[in-house]
């Protein structure tokens, strides 16, 4: 069947869109115009985009259509409209990291992940909203505007890749890239009912991605289907000589075993993850997903992650410590905002940073500076790094008995805008399940597993895998997706 109307075009998965371009049933221009049309119509209410690059997108679409016409498509993604979190550098296109301190900055180069998407022929629609410097779990820390959840505009889309999740869920883009330092791909994916993958640390290059916490940050896709997530991950993964932390391991074919089902998989269920503190509707949806896996021939194995309860405490030392160091570069000298230049150099530093950073960023810089300051290093940073070893060790032990670990993504469904902004610790505590994979440097994803009975909002299931075993996670996620289906387009109203 060929899609014709704008909403039918927008409803296509990335892979379907690519296939229809290849079959010359639809053009990249039609897809791009349909996406831009939906952005113009809906994004005023959603706030998913910080910049829309319509002219560039249409020019890229024309080139993609020319390649399709002469039979020289670059990849399955050639001509497919996508978008990226505004943490990825885009040459000549404003890149803000959601911060006033970078307002109006035009980067001199592209992030490797952006370069790879464009080399695959993808059409980039624009830059997506986020919590300032990716610090947050609700996208309310964006210095520009909040982003809203397309399923309920009074609620957050999650964060920090909230714009990416909202845009993909609302069919404003056929897929997106985000980044995940403590859950910033998986939590918004769960809140918006899409698939989100945080690959193994080192799997995707971070060159040209604004740094937050360098031992934790990782790039990954947000997608409508597991298949799209596999396709997008395959397009951006792989070694990059410009990122010294990128792994030289060859990238597998993530689509190859995708339909192999869950039969024979041993799924570890951490006993610490299904206890108190979960909303009943989330617990019910997660349990139902685990039962579905049993029906599909997987075996559930109880495992224990005794140190996961220390994850938040370790993370909120390590991540702010690294952030305080990474964000030292915003000093009003080389790019971005400059304030207080009438005084001396120190005055300029302090004024620029006071004016340019929002409250959450300042809070984390303060926390990190404190943890690293003289006399406190051993008590905080060093201790947190040791606990990180223990968190990883728990997972290594679990993987002696199972192939992957499954549990909730977040303790509950999307929360309301404004509900947690004045209570940062409460906001942080909701990262408890996602942080484990970042601390342990392991691959993890969120796949829709049902709806919360009380609100009807999406619930995600989290799967965590062995290092570089994204293929098993995707295969398991696809098996569940075949059972529970994907979410339809939300009515953005």
């Amino acid at each position: 069947m060929t899609a014709t109307s704008g909403s039918e075009l927008a409803a296509l998965s990335a892979r379907q869109a690519g296939a229809q371009i290849a079959a010359r049933e639809v053009s990249s221009r039609e897809l791009t115009e349909a996406a831009l049309g939906r952005i113009a119509r809906l994004d005023g209410r959603l706030g998913a985009f910080l910049a829309v690059t319509a002219d560039r997108a249409l020019a890229a679409a024309r080139e993609a259509d020319a390649r399709a016409a002469r039979g020289g498509r670059l990849s399955e993604l050639d001509g497919v409209p996508l978008a990226v979190k505004d943490l990825f550098l885009t040459r000549g296109v404003p890149t803000t990291a959601g911060s006033r301190i970078l307002e109006g900055w035009l980067p001199p180069c592209d992030a490797t992940a952006v370069e790879r998407l464009e080399a695959a022929g993808a059409v980039l629609l624009g830059k997506l909203n986020l919590d300032e410097f990716a610090m947050g779990s609700s996208t309310e820390n964006s210095a520009y505007k909040p982003c809203r959840n397309p399923w309920d505009l009074t609620r957050t889309p999650g964060g920090s890749s909230g714009g990416s999740a909202a845009a993909v869920a609302a069919r404003l883009a056929h897929g997106a890239l985000g980044t995940d330092t403590g859950g910033s791909i998986r939590e918004p994916a769960a809140f918006c009912g899409v698939v989100g993958v945080k690959p193994t640390y080192g799997r995707v290059s971070r060159f040209g991605v604004v740094a937050f916490a360098s031992s934790l940050d990782q790039v990954g896709p947000l997608a409508r289907t597991v298949e799209d997530a596999a396709l997008l991950l395959g397009a951006v993964a792989g070694h990059d000589p410009r990122d010294m932390t990128s792994s030289a391991r060859p990238v597998g074919d993530y689509l190859a075993g995708l339909e192999d089902g869950a039969r024979g998989l041993r799924i570890g269920v951490p006993r610490e993850w299904l206890g108190d503190g979960l909303e009943p509707g989330t617990l019910a949806a997660v349990r139902a997903a685990l039962e579905a896996y049993q029906r599909l021939g997987a075996t559930l194995v109880e495992v224990s992650l005794p140190h996961s309860r220390y994850g938040i405490a370790a993370y909120y030392i390590i991540a702010p410590a690294e952030a305080s160091s990474n964000l030292a570069r915003y000093d009003g000298v080389r790019f971005g905002l400059r304030a207080g230049a009438g005084g001396g150099l120190r005055e300029m530093y302090a004024e620029t940073r006071q004016e340019g950073f929002g409250p959450e960023v300042k809070r984390r810089i303060m926390l990190g500076t404190y943890a690293l300051s003289s006399g406190y290093y051993d008590a905080y940073y060093l201790r947190a790094q040791k606990v990180r070893t223990l968190v990883r060790r728990d997972l290594d032990q679990a993987f002696e008995r199972c192939d992957l670990v499954a549990g909730p993504v977040a303790p509950g469904v999307a929360f309301r805008l404004g509900e947690r902004v004045e209570d940062p610790l409460r906001m942080y505590l909701a990262d408890v399940f996602t942080i484990t994979a970042n601390l342990a440097a392991l691959p993890a994803l969120s796949v829709p597993c049902g709806r919360d009975a009380a609100t009807g909002l999406p619930v995600g299931l989290q799967l965590v895998g062995r290092p570089f075993d994204e293929a098993t996670l995707l295969r398991a996620a696809r098996a569940l997706e075949r059972e529970v289906g994907t979410f339809p387009a939300p009515e953005v109203a």
Binding site: P241, R249, A313, R334, L337, L382, A384
Partner: protein, 96 residues
Amino acid sequence: MSLSLEEVRRIAALARLRLSPEEEERFAGQLSAILDHVRLLEELDVAAVEPMTHALAGEAPALRADLERPGLSAEVAVAAAPERAGTHFKVPRVLE
């Protein structure tokens, strides 16, 4: 544990931040609450545990040949500077 306003000011100075009096008050409370939660880590005996100093432990380091390669030109590098003098970054007076 409770951070004093004086400590908040000391940290802000180290971090090159100039906080407003309201921010100092708010951060003193919020950072104290976060550090209280972090005290949870003290429960664990980590004396014999190695810190995880590299997230890619066990991976062969990906080294490249140490060769000269093109980088940003001086013109491009200073293009986004708030203030410049030719191909230099211009900053306020360092020594008063």
